[in-house]
Symmetry: C2
Subunit: 336 residues, 2 copies
Amino acid sequence: MTTMKALVLTASQKLQIQDVPKPKPGKDEVLVKIKASAINHNDMLAYVHSYKGGSTGMILGSDGCGTVVEAGSEENGKWLGKEVVINPGLDWGNDETAQAENFDILGGKVPGTFAEFIIVKTQYLFEKPAHLTAVEASVIPLAGVTAYRALFSRGGLKAGEKVLVTGIGGGVARFLVQFAKAAGAVVYVTSGSEDKLKKAIALGAVGGVNYKDRDWVQKINDLTGGIDLIIDSAAGDDFAKLMQVAKRGGRLVLLGRTKGMISQVDPYEIFWKQLSILGTTMGSPKEFEEMFEFIGKKNIKPIIDSSYPMTKAHEAFERIVRGEQFGKVVLEPIFN
Amino acid sequence: MTTMKALVLTASQKLQIQDVPKPKPGKDEVLVKIKASAINHNDMLAYVHSYKGGSTGMILGSDGCGTVVEAGSEENGKWLGKEVVINPGLDWGNDETAQAENFDILGGKVPGTFAEFIIVKTQYLFEKPAHLTAVEASVIPLAGVTAYRALFSRGGLKAGEKVLVTGIGGGVARFLVQFAKAAGAVVYVTSGSEDKLKKAIALGAVGGVNYKDRDWVQKINDLTGGIDLIIDSAAGDDFAKLMQVAKRGGRLVLLGRTKGMISQVDPYEIFWKQLSILGTTMGSPKEFEEMFEFIGKKNIKPIIDSSYPMTKAHEAFERIVRGEQFGKVVLEPIFN
């Protein structure tokens, strides 16, 4: 049996390099040799839950860039040798409004990108943009399509609008800042870290407020005069306060819950201000394609925090657990 | 001084017929002799608050139908003798997304329709639809435009969709049922009253669930298989549960807060189901006009609960306080 090295989530040792069977591509599939992959929030959730004996034996990883090295059919031979990025949103379905019931994310039930090789259906392959390295391209898929859908399909962003991105440390946040700025918006951010606020301003935001400040709502209103579009992945107690910085007719796009349940929302804020609270997650194949076109057209380069060989995956994950990163953390399949 | 009779809100006696100065129309105004007016939720709030010494000395009333009897300028003479309905949404502004900061509702700061006569700017006049009596037309404005905006502009209702209207006893609810059915939707309702559920089904709803039932969420899901568009004016603790009856991609339009603050919302429901929570109130002049066109085209007749002479206004208001009405309660300026 031919084997390959993969980063496997185990209950006892958390993340372990193991020799696992090297997969063979089926008729509508190819085998991709991974050059770089990136850690996302869903990988972190699985990693953190493994402490409690959560799903184990999985190969995590939703983001990846690599080279097609084997085709499952003659027709797919056209992909051979190509550098590709993988769309990790599987079976979205035909409805742009929402994913189908059987929607899945690569690195969930289906083995992910934290390995030497991965099997991918050709419908999920996308040629690597020419202006990006494999490392740069590898960090885009999940966070990029999530940010694109949040800003444009759900948020309806128009040039000249004021956008607030909360929690600039999060995985999707920097794409939000870069995309919104590239689309002609005026971007503001919040963070609990003064250092990250400075980095966000270097990235194109015009201002930022520390959400640990008791007066953060007033400070944002003083700074901005009210926000057209807020993108939040925290929820929690502060979500109700975000409504106080939204203009009349403003939109709040919600894509996560790192701070838990939403409470103490005054309905009056929602109806009298004509607010729209819009849930979103990942994106459709159409949005994935549009997102890469946008990145190419606007010449956007993703922000890389750091890159680790897969043998040091534990260090990479712990850097994110400590919240030290600014930009994506990359894993490369280097095993010696 | 010429006087007229009006229903004035006083701190001590709540509602009292008083002789007040009869107003004179200015250049861009006309004088309308009221034939019928209707009680809305904002009138109820003022009435209930007057117990606590709230705003007094006001002439309430947002809805009204009457005849133009005096013009403030030669140009406005074309309105003389016409039966008109009044758009109570003053100074909406030019933005369809939201009302301007100085938006006001007739019967708030500006004297309302609970009087013999009222001054109205001609921009707020609308010819009474031919298929309706003055009493029928008088109950439409505020609730009608609110329902229209909620269903169509905000809710984006499409024919064939499943719509849930919560609290069928409320003032806007019957318009929601009638408009949604006329637009080709499949309409469900909730109520705390079995009698009102039956009446809603007679009005065109295909089914209803009593929200006092502990299993109401499950019952709605069993009955409907999930809802595309929910219109709610209650908020409160049940709002989070409404998300459990929304389909993926579903919309929840919120237009009131009779049950108070929203709490215990799981953000996961919002983002994973791609929900849209959309605040709305009243509507623009454009929506007001479209609403009347829709009512004419679909031959919709509003539901009248009862009509009282203005001297019995207290009885009319108390009927609503007790929640006994199904349909609008009308006041007619009859004083003997």
